[in-house]
Symmetry: none
């Protein structure tokens, strides 16, 4: 069982698909399902397609935002069909499993699936450390959402079965600090954005791709808790310095 | 495209599942579908779930017996959920793909899927060279038939792609910018260190593990040239802000 894996479905339209996802998850030993503003849930179509995985449906969390869905997760994958504006670290399902399976007992991993017709938005995709792409043929690349969950859950199960031979630690070594949770990362990014505006580096009226680029850089490293605290400490030091300089300026007026 | 692979569905009950199978096949580059005495076909539910893979449905052969379905095939796999009476050569989907993918252009390979409720009969399974088992959890081992076809087609596609694989790009995607050279990184770290001293965050007499931690974080992400320029731009903006604040202070002295 991979209880450290959370499947997050964003704005799913068809309840039958939610049932299909629940069945695919249970087949492969997953149980943590989180639904962000599903169109219709609970629904008899979900129960029918779940075909015995009603326990997964019953214990599913329904939340209003991806912030709630991801808050306590340390690592986030988002499914992406298309080439994006800014390239983002991209893995296939097998590589996802190679990264995520060894984090059992160490970190919570979210895998986000988007709307049936439009997938995830760019903003949602920028919340992810990695994007995952199922290598379908280019001319017909959109999988049914339950089929996509099935493939990824299957790879996680294969990795878990292979892994039972020997566990491989994060970054190939015993790490000294726990990974940061999403809520800590988000607070850090908000703090960073405020500070960049204060030092006149980020123009709120013309932000361009600055924050996505910084997100992509730092998320690629998957920061631990101490690293996030150090970054926030630096931001606070910048603010303190500016305030004291302003204060001195005012003293002399 | 794996035109040497035939998917054979035996006595499928729900036409929606046939549609789901067609979609899964087309996603992964398969097109040869053979239906042995389906209960309802053609059917609007099949078209709906096929979601654009109607060409696979339209070209599907409908036959009355597995003899007809398998006649021109050299190698036959049958999906099997349970332990059988007589042990039979058993592969997982990845092993199936390792056997079947290289036979492209050399042999026709059939993969048979049984009824939704009872799978394949013993007699049908004995027609197979190998059995294939998707390693679901034992307590909930029955996959939806379209999901099972998805997993096996995915493995065939992965094997085909691995076969064509040349070099894999950095972070799995076409990156937009070249990676930073070490000298650029070192200049950035020197700049960072100077700035941290200026904002009184780093005490040169007691530096502790601050710079190593920041190095480890940023190096883990392997920054590209634009990312390094952005970081240096931020450092310059901090310096400029401090200088102008100091200047204002001095003007008033």
């Amino acid at each position: 069982m991979s209880e450290h894996i959370r499947i997050v479905l964003v704005n799913t339209t068809h309840p039958g698909n939610i049932g299909g996802v629940a069945r695919a998850m249970k087949n492969m030993g997953l149980s943590d399902l989180c639904l962000v503003s599903p169109k219709l849930f609970p629904h008899p179509d979900a129960d029918a397609r779940a075909s015995g995985a009603t326990d997964v449906l019953e214990s599913a969390q329904v939340v209003a935002s991806i912030d709630e869905a991801l808050a306590d997760c340390e690592l986030v994958f988002g499914t992406s069909a298309r080439e994006r504006h800014i390239p983002w670290p991209l893995v296939d399902p097998r590589e996802l499993a190679a990264i995520a399976a060894p984090l059992k007992g160490k970190a919570k991993v979210a895998i986000m699936f988007g709307r049936e017709d439009r997938g995830l938005t760019n903003e949602e995709l920028q919340r992810c450390h990695h994007h995952v792409h199922i290598p379908a043929v280019e001319s017909f690349s959109s999988l049914n959402i339950a089929a996509a969950v099935q493939v990824i859950s299957y790879e996680l199960r294969m990795a878990e079965l292979a892994d039972q031979a020997g566990e491989k630690p994060q970054w190939g070594t015993q790490w000294d600090i726990e990974l940061a949770e999403q809520r800590e990362l988000e607070l850090m990014f908000e703090h960073l954005e405020r500070t960049l505006v204060k030092i006149d580096f980020l123009d709120p009226d013309n932000p361009r791709q600055l924050m996505p680029r910084l997100r992509r850089l730092l998320q690629r490293a998957v920061p631990d808790k101490v690293e996030v605290n150090v970054l926030r400490g630096i931001l606070k030091a910048v603010e303190r310095k500016m305030e004291s300089a302003e204060k001195n300026g005012n003293d002399h007026v």
